[in-house]
Each structure stands twice: as structure tokens, then as C-alpha cells.
Subunit: 656 residues, 2 copies
């Protein structure tokens, strides 16, 4: 084996490793600690380093690494020593610092990607609200958990009362639960005789009740007072969070969030589906990846609560988009992405934790939030539940969750319509020349001087600029228009008196950051094609909203509340978003950030049978509008490809 030297800066430590070794491992040999919360999977982006000298090779596995590499950033865990000695600089943000340990009560660290920071901040804020501030996760629903324990004293067996043990138990359960259909699995029946008699017919029965049916999860001798725990999981395509709930007290005990380990198989649901369908054992592998993710979160939480054992976790509730739900349960997702876009299931069976390999009580039932359609999933149903939009007397409201798709719900009480518009990944940085996810070095805010056209900007963690993230792009579009650099159709005004305006290889472009100020070997620009892409993305969302309104015969001004959900929503500048015509021109005070409603709804459903019943009711009630049917959406879309819109009367308060 060939040996090569790697020198780590700024410490100047030199270490000899075999070629083929990755730089994360090499740093470890040099006793230099680099952050790697994803364990070297190439998904967290926290092990970013600068290759100062020498040529290295990228592993072919991480999409994130590949994209960063194009931008001159290397992930230590994904970069392999080859035939040359290397000099590597570890930025402060990637090095483990004492500071980090000190502030560990907040999960957000200086070196984190903004997407993860934002997400973890959400998780943490929710924890703070629910846990430290004792705000109820029930959101108005009664505490009546999906799984509860009942302490019973059964009539003792005698020659006079010689019913069989199972009947003895179920007769009492029927009365206690008002359920007529009570299922006791064979595994429990097998030793029921001993269990009933161990403490003279006193038993503690654990059961989950749903819609008049009860499933017995465990029967234990005596009157047990062990607390009951459940785990609510928000399964996002990018990030996953788990919430440990005390089912009897109705409160969140702790939370943890991390990247979805499926990320190494693709960034978005489509690439995950392609992997699951096309690769050998793809479905099995990608299913296992999310199971591992959840198992790791659970053990991360439990390690902090030594008194709570895996076995004490008696029920799990998950919410995620339709693809995530399929992959979590190991259901073939193939037809989700093929026209006519049919999910295999919208309502999912309850399965036992052991069937999925989840490391909690093996008999814990695992519930999955129901979906509405291939692109309107359980996370949206969960959000609809959280916002109370389906409640009687609810005002007309709009729930909007923007990611690769924009998922929206419009309605009030009895009527609820929903749709999903393919906004494309522009807001997530894809398909834009210098677009990127919200990470180190991404431009997130900018100003353009209307006289000089000079650009000032801020980047995430104040890193040297390497690209623009979603919020930066929305800001950019608004400022380009405000300064007249582009017209309402997104066409560049090439005659402007500034050398920032020029004709590049792909047509007109505007320089946002000169090479010298950037961390790249070229200027950071935005092109006319980029702008068209962004217009399509924002146009799709707005057209979706308009289409729903048309279908139900309402106008924009009848909307009383706009709930902005999800990670992107959290750092979206609402006035900017209205200005470019992404969001409707409605008074800003009617907008409400609702955060991670997927997680919040999952917690609610675990803690309240009534909430879970309503979630299922909502999933049936939500009327899905397929935007690719008919011309309604297409007409609206074409009209929305202007800033803010072809029909200016829709944006009376916007003067761009």
C-alpha cells in the first residue's frame, strides 16, 4: 500500500496514512477532532475542509459532497487520499471547540448548516415551549393517549365463575374501554393464565384504542405504575426529529433531530424513489436507512434518560410525506412518480415495532399518519390538524408548506381542498447557477444600490460567499426587480450602466459577488435563465393557490389566515415573498409561522385518540385537486410568470 502525508492546518500537524484513507479518519489519526454528527455518511455537511495543496479523490456516494465539490468545498469524510501528499485547512466551523460543549443546551452550533440549524432550532424551540415552558402539546385536544394502561382487578376464578381467562379479561376490558372489538394476540394469551394469577387477578393492561377497537399490547401482573412513553417522529425528506412523550402526563420529555440517513441515496423524494426502484435491494436499503435514523434518535434520547428503557416505549406515531411513509414501512414507492401518480396506500396499517426493527418495545404499535395523495402526505394532514382548519366555525385559512413541492391546504371546517405544485428545487438551490442549500457561505440577504447597482450581502455564518440559498434567492429577485435590473417578465435590462451586467455563456447575467470577494475561482452571478427558473417556482406556488380558490369559488381576500409551515417557511421573508408574487398580497399580520406542524400533529395524535380520529377524518375529508388535469392550473401558472403577476390588481400593495 502506498503511504502519503496529510498536513492539517492551522495546527500544522502532519500524519502518514495509506492512500484510500478518508480525511476524517486521517484527522482522527492526527488527534484533530472534526465535527461529524452524521457519522461520516456525507449527509450533515459539517466536516467541510479546504484542500490547500495536492489532489484528492471524492467518494462516489454523497450527493451533498459532489455538489459541494463543484463549489470547491470538500467534506473530510468523503475525500480520499490518493497518490499525492495533501495540505488541508480545517475551518474553525468544522473543528470541535470547547465553546460548542458549553452551549450544548441549545442544539445549534456555529458550524452547522443553516438548514440543520433551522430545523434543530425548530425542534428545540418546540421542546422548549412544550417541555420547559410546559405549554401543552395537546393544542386543545383532551389527554386521552393512543396507548394507555388500565389497572384491573378481575373477578377471581372459581368453580362458580369458571369462565376462561381470556374471556374473564376481555369482558372487563369491554366495559372499561367501551370497545366491542378487543384483540389479544396469541403471544399474550400463551401465558395469560400465569399472569392473571401472579398477583391474584390484579393486572395492568396496556392497550391502544382506535375507533372502537382495542388492541392489547401487554398484560402485566399486579398494578404497575411504570410511566408509559411514546415516540412521535417527524420523518422529513432531509431531516428527522423524534419526540419522547410521557403519555400519562401528556408532555414532551425530550427531543432529538438529525439528518435523514437516506440522504446518501438522493436529496429529494424522486431520487429516493428512483434508488428504491432501480437499485438491487434498493427498497430494502433505503427502508433500513430511515429505520436506522429513527433508532439512532431514540437511543440519543434514551442515553440522557437512564431510567427510561427501550421497553418502556410502548407506541410510535410517525408523520411524513407520502414517499417517506412508503419507505418507512417498506412499501414499493414506484408508482408515486409515474403518471397518474398513484400511491400504493394513503391509509397505512398499524404494525408492531419489531416488524420494522424499531428498537423500542417489540410489541409497540407503530402508527403512520394517513396521506391524501402522492404529493400531499401525512405531514400536511398533520399540519391541517394542528391549525384547526377543519374545526367547525374555523375561518377560511390557507396552509402552505414550501419545499421542492409547494403543498397547500385551503378551507374552513367542512370543506378543505389541497394540492401540490411542483415548485422544483430552485428554492433549495438546485437548477440555479450558484444556488445551494442554506449552509456555510450561502448568501441569505442582499441589498442592491438603485444608483450604483453595487451589491451588499450577508452570508450564513459570515463565511466567504460561495452561492445563494433559497431565502437569498427570493431577496435577490425582489431587489433585481426593485432596481429595474430585470423587468416584470424577468428579462434582463442589458443596457444598464454597470459592468455587473454582462452577457455570459448562457445569456445575460448579473454579477452578485466578484471572484476576489468570493471563496470561488469565479464570479458569483445570477443569470436570466436562473431568474426564469425562480419565476417558474414562485409562479407554480401562486398558481396552485389561485387554482384552489377558483375550484371553490373564493377570492384571495376571503382568506383570514395564512399558516406558513415547515423549515423553509421559518426563514422566509414574508414581504419579499409577497413582493415577487410567491405569496398572496394579504396583510402581513394574517400570516403566521407555525413551524414544524408535522411533528406537532404527530405529538397530538399520540396523546389524544380524539386528535388521531380527527387526523384520519381530515385525511378522508381533504379533497385533492390534481393540478395536471385540465387547463385551470396551466392558465394560472402562465399568468404568474411575472413579477408579481400579470394581473396587478391581485397585488394592490406591491410596487415593483
Amino acid at each position: 500500500m502506498n503511504k502519503r502525508f496529510v498536513t492539517f492546518l492551522p495546527a500544522g500537524v502532519k500524519v502518514e496514512v495509506e492512500s484510500g484513507t478518508d480525511l476524517l479518519t486521517a484527522a482522527g489519526k492526527a488527534n484533530i477532532e472534526i465535527k461529524a454528527p452524521c457519522g461520516g455518511d456525507g449527509t450533515c455537511g459539517k466536516c467541510a475542509i479546504h484542500l490547500k495543496n495536492g489532489k484528492a479523490k471524492a467518494r462516489r456516494e454523497s450527493h451533498l459532497a459532489a455538489r459541494l465539490m463543484e463549489k470547491g468545498i470538500n467534506l473530510a469524510c468523503q475525500t480520499l487520499v490518493q497518490d499525492e501528499d495533501l495540505v488541508v485547512e480545517i475551518p474553525k466551523t468544522s473543528a470541535m471547540s470547547k465553546h460548542q460543549v458549553l452551549v450544548d443546551s441549545s442544539p445549534v452550533n456555529a458550524g452547522m448548516s443553516e438548514a440543520l440549524s433551522n430545523y434543530l432550532l425548530n425542534v428545540w424551540q418546540l421542546k422548549e415551549l412544550l417541555l420547559e415552558k410546559q405549554e401543552s402539546p395537546l393544542n386543545g385536544y383532551p389527554l386521552h393517549p393512543l396507548c394507555r394502561s388500565i389497572r384491573l382487578t378481575l373477578p377471581a376464578a372459581s368453580l362458580q365463575d369458571n369462565r376462561d381467562d381470556l374471556n374473564r379479561l376481555t369482558m372487563v376490558l369491554r366495559k372499561e374501554t367501551k370497545c366491542t372489538d378487543i384483540n389479544v394476540p396469541l403471544a399474550i394469551i400463551r401465558d395469560l393464565g400465569e399472569i392473571l394469577r401472579a398477583d391474584n387477578f390484579k393486572v395492568t393492561v396496556l392497550l391502544s384504542e382506535v375507533g372502537g377497537k382495542a388492541e392489547v399490547i401487554a398484560v402485566e401482573p399486579g398494578h404497575s405504575h411504570r410511566p408509559l412513553y411514546g415516540i412521535a417522529v417527524d420523518i422529513g425528506t432531509t431531516t428527522v426529529a423524534a419526540y419522547l412523550l410521557d403519555l400519562e402526563k401528556g408532555r414532551v420529555v425530550d427531543t432529538a433531530g438529525t439528518h435523514n440517513r437516506q440522504a446518501r441515496f438522493g436529496d429529494d423524494v424522486i431520487s429516493r424513489i428512483v434508488y428504491a426502484v432501480d437499485e438491487t435491494d434498493g427498497l430494502k436499503t433505503i427502508h433500513q436507512a430511515i429505520i436506522d435514523t429513527v433508532n439512532n434518535l431514540v437511543s440519543d434520547i434514551l442515553v440522557k434518560h437512564r431510567a427510561i428503557r427501550e421497553n418502556d416505549i410502548r407506541v410510535i406515531m410517525t408523520a411524513g410525506n407520502t414517499t417517506m411513509a412508503h419507505l418507512f414501512l417498506g412499501i414499493n414507492p414506484k408508482f408515486i412518480r409515474l403518471e397518474p401518480y398513484i400511491p400504493t396506500a394513503n391509509f397505512f396499517p398499524v404494525v408492531k415495532a419489531q416488524e420494522l426493527g424499531l428498537r423500542v418495545n417489540p410489541d409497540a404499535p407503530v402508527f403512520s399518519y394517513p396521506s391524501v395523495a402522492s404529493y400531499v402526505g401525512g405531514d400536511i394532514v398533520s399540519g391541517t390538524l394542528f391549525t384547526n382548519m377543519g374545526k367547525e366555525d374555523a375561518p377560511i385559512s390557507l396552509l402552505i408548506d414550501i419545499g421542492t413541492n409547494g403543498e397547500m391546504v385551503l378551507g374552513a371546517g367542512d370543506w378543505l381542498v389541497t394540492c401540490s405544485c411542483s415548485a422544483g428545487p430552485a428554492f433549495e438551490g438546485s437548477g440555479i447557477t450558484f444556488g445551494m442549500r442554506a449552509m456555510y457561505g450561502a448568501i441569505e440577504r442582499m441589498e442592491i444600490d438603485p444608483q450604483t447597482y453595487e451589491v451588499s450581502y450577508t452570508t450564513i455564518n459570515n463565511g466567504r460567499a460561495i452561492g445563494i440559498c433559497g431565502s437569498g434567492l427570493i431577496d435577490c429577485l425582489a431587489k433585481l426587480r426593485r432596481t429595474g435590473i430585470i423587468d416584470r417578465a424577468g428579462k434582463f435590462q442589458t443596457s444598464l450602466p454597470t459592468d455587473r451586467m454582462r452577457i455570459g455563456e448562457a445569456g445575460p447575467e448579473f454579477v452578485l459577488v466578484w471572484q476576489d470577494d468570493s471563496d470561488l475561482d469565479r464570479d458569483i452571478i445570477i443569470s436570466e435563465a436562473d431568474v426564469k427558473n425562480l419565476l417558474r417556482a414562485k409562479g407554480a406556488v401562486f398558481a396552485g393557490i389561485r387554482t384552489m380558490l377558483n375550484v371553490v369559488g373564493f377570492e384571495l381576500d376571503s382568506i383570514e389566515n395564512v399558516y406558513v409551515a415547515g423549515g423553509f417557511g421559518n426563514y422566509l421573508n414574508i414581504p419579499d415573498a409577497i413582493a415577487i408574487g410567491l405569496l398572496p398580497d394579504i396583510p402581513v399580520q394574517k400570516y403566521k409561522y407555525v413551524g414544524n406542524t408535522s411533528a406537532k400533529g404527530a405529538c397530538m395524535a399520540l396523546l389524544s385518540q380524539e386528535a388521531w380520529a380527527e387526523a384520519n377524518n381530515l385525511a378522508s375529508k381533504l379533497t385533492y385537486i390534481e393540478l395536471s388535469v385540465g387547463n385551470l392550473f396551466m392558465d394560472e401558472f402562465v399568468s404568474s410568470l411575472f413579477i408579481p403577476h400579470t394581473d396587478l390588481t391581485l397585488f394592490p400593495n406591491v410596487d415593483l
Copy 2:
């Protein structure tokens, strides 16, 4: 290792084997074929040999072998060569003969034990009736099998009809089945998308329907026309039979019967329970033994029907007593034998074949006949179904099944009472000095000359007498009384002028067979203590019948039908049984042998949802009378310890 010679007679073949070798193996080495249908387990009794010279050692495992050994009979499979050379005679009945192969269409062979012959004859007669004579196993119920396949053409998915696949399927199933509750297991959902599309939304759905609930067992692409099979199993304590049913044609395809492999752990349910509870892994071992028994029967059948694969068997129905049902499902039977005699369950959950390790389609649901109480099991419920006693307008009938326990059902239509009286194993040969099971050499009929007191008798297979079996004992009791050898209380008239009457070690006894005529080294006698035992057995049965009549306020003459079920019933001499007061004094033409009703009812339930619903209805409806509560039974029992009874008016036609 020591080597010893074994000489086999009559062939005179000599073979050298290591000491420790069993004689079945030794015979094999000598190319002499001995019958061993139980595979050398020591349970079938067919490998009986005579040890002519030398001392051998018995394995300590087989109860049957131990009992036969006392009688001077050795089972080849259970007899081990020790320090001495042996001379062994193989009786014709144990040798494999060409004759046997020729008559193989009837399962009964010359050398078989009578119990097994009888049982197999039952199985075979049933097969003949149902199979060759095309008599319907439905017994009046409609053909509507528990598991059926439906060929569906679902509406194709489109942008206009974009319901999820699961919903698409269940909506149609709801209409087709009239079931509102349709369960599709996750394993089937996982690839449902591909299956629906493989033949353009044409599918064949296999499902089992019970009480408005449907469980989907399989979904296959296209319109499949593979026949559907089910297996009905009668799980007896001693013998087990399997029936292969064509579910669509509603007929029996083939059958097989054998010994219950649990026999090596004890002869009766009590010793099986003791084994299951007291031995390490006892329950697991004894559960596996019955699973193995059923698996062997299934493969015995399938080997004859090459076109039918294990996977084609889609459903299983079992009927057996309560202990057998517990052991089959692996439920701890401990409390069945402890006062107050509580079974863990009377109604059993439906489980998948793979959960039990049954080698049929892994997803086949396995149904178990419901029981009524610890000693009134699914076999009796099955018999009650078969006799139509629970049907509206049914005349008052009595169903009676005599074994170690006498299980009885009395009733008509809406009311049915049942009880189990512990007759003890006297009729099975235990607890009687020369009692034995109905096997080779057992006296089955006898006459006693009223003048000379000389005894003439017939034995099973005309072997030299070695003991008396149940039917012989009933005959014996009747003849002892008729000739005045015993009085009505069973007391021996010791002053009779015959040397057959004498005082033995345990009191008065009567010689049935002199040593010289027997195959033993002593006289075969019946003692006063034996007679008392028999009176207790017959008294318990009759007292049980009387107690049931008392509870419901009817007299003996209101009984219109007496159904005599089970193996023992099949060779019971009814007039004899009435004469000793075992069965009520009712015109003989009202008695009906109904054979193996447990098996017949299991077949009915598999073929007809209506029959299965009625079986469950019967199990709820049957009112169990616990005879050990109160004095009612005890008073009747004491009055029944006479021949035929204390109250002679109950037996107007008996003149003993």
C-alpha cells in the same frame, strides 16, 4: 464397544450389532422389515416382538412400551441390546408382508392395534363416504368456504381516478364481500402497486371472511384459476387425522391419520399437561410434537398428489379437546388441571401458518374450534354442530363421547347443556389388573357359561390373550352379573362351585383365561377391585347424563336420539352398555353411531362460513355444568354404582 448377536426367528437370520442398538435397527441390518409407522417413537405399538432368549433393556421413554413390557411384549424400537446375545421372534403381525401392500387401499392392516385400526377405519370410511361415494361433507350447510378467491377487474388508475391502490382494491372488496372491515396485511401492501398493474388491474384476491370481517391472504396478478385447498385436522389425544379439502368443489380429496407424536410424553391430557408444565421447555417440545404430527400428515397426503403444492393449501381448521387446542397453539395448559379447572382460552385467535411452523402456505390462516370449558373442547362443539342438535326444531338429543372423560351434550335447538365426567381410564385399560388398550391379544368379547362358569372369548387378531380391552371389559361386566358371579353392587360370590373363583392377593378374583391358554406367565383374572373401578367409570357417565337431565328438568324417555361419537363408541356393544347401566335404557334404534364427529365438523367449518358461524354460536350457547359443584352429581354417582342402577325403574328392560 461390545458386539452382540441377535437372531431373528422365524427366518433364522443372525446379525452382529453393538450393544445399545435397538431391535428395530438390528432387524433393518438383517434385512428384515418390521412395521414401524410411528417411525420408532414407541407410540404405534406395531413393532411388537417376542424375546425368546437373552435379556434386553427397555428404553425409558415410551409409556406404551413400558406397559407392554409388563405383559411380556417388547416393542422392537424400544428394546435395546445389552450384554447378552438375543433370540427374537417376529410375529407375522409385525412383519411387513406382500399382502399388506396389496390391500393398501384400505388403511387397516392385520398387525395394527385395534385402536389405530378403528381410528384409521373411521378416517378411511369418512374418506370413502365423502370422496369415493361423493357424499357431501357439508352435511346440509351451503358451500361457502372460509377461504375463497375472487377474480376482480379493478377500475384502472388515471388522473381522474387517482385513488390509492389499497383503496381501489378495498372499495371493490367491500362490495363483493359485504364485509365492512377488510384487513390487508402490510406484507401484501408492500408490492400491491406492481401486482395490480402486472395484468392491467386484473387480480385474484384470496380472502377469509368471518363475521363481517375479511382478511386478505393473498393478491395475485391476473385471473388465476388454481384450485384452493384447505386442511381440516382432528387433533385427538391419541390419534390425529388430516383431511385435504378442495374448497371450491366442496369435497374431500384425500385423508391421512396417524398417532399423535405427543404420545411419548404421556397417554392422556393430564400427563401431557404435567409434561408441558414441569419439564424444561416442556410446552415448547410438546407443542412442536403436534406441529410435527400435522406436518407429517400433510406431507403424507401431498406426496400422493404431486400437482398440489404446500403453497396451495390456504387455510387450516383444527378441532380437538381443550388441552390439545392449547398445546397446538403453544398456550400454557397449566390451569386446565388445577381446580377450578380454568382454560386460558375457549375462543382462540386466528394465526398464520408460519407463526406455528406449519408447512403449508405461510400466510394461510389457522382456525381452531372453540371450546366450552377445560374438559369440553372443540371436538365436542364440532360434534354438536355435526348432529344438528342446535338447529331449530331439533328433537331432544344426547351426544356422548366416551374416553378417559365422558363428554356429553344434551339439548334441543335453543338450549344445550354439556358436562364432562371423569370416567377414568378404566375403559382404556388403565387401573384394571389385566386392562389394556384395544390391541393385539386383547380380549374383546366373552361368554360365560351360566352352569359351568367356563369362559369363551375372542381376542383382537386372534392373538393369544394378554389382557382385556374396554369393549371386553363392558362385556365381561355384563356376563359376570348375568351369571351371578357378582351381585348388583359388584361383590363377588366367592362360594360359587368353580375353581375360577378364588381369593387372590388383593381379594376375590375370577379367572378369565388360564395361564396355559394365555400368552403370559400367569392367569388372566378380573378382581373385585377391577369391577369396582369399572362401576365407578360407568357410574360416572350415567350420573353425568342424569345430572344434565335434572338440571333441565327432563326425564330419560324424553331423549329422542343418542349420538355415540368417537373411537371407543365405534366398537361399543350398545345392549351390553345398557345392561351394565353405562348408557340409558332407551330403545336401541334411537342410538346412532356418528363416528369421528370432530373431523366431520372441522371439514364442515372449512367449507362453509355458515357452519363456522354456527360452531362459534354453539360454543357460546352450550351451558357447561360443572359436576364438582354441589351434591347433585355425587348423589347420582353413588346411585349409579350398582348394576344397572340403584333405581331399577330407570332400566325397565334390563334383567341382570
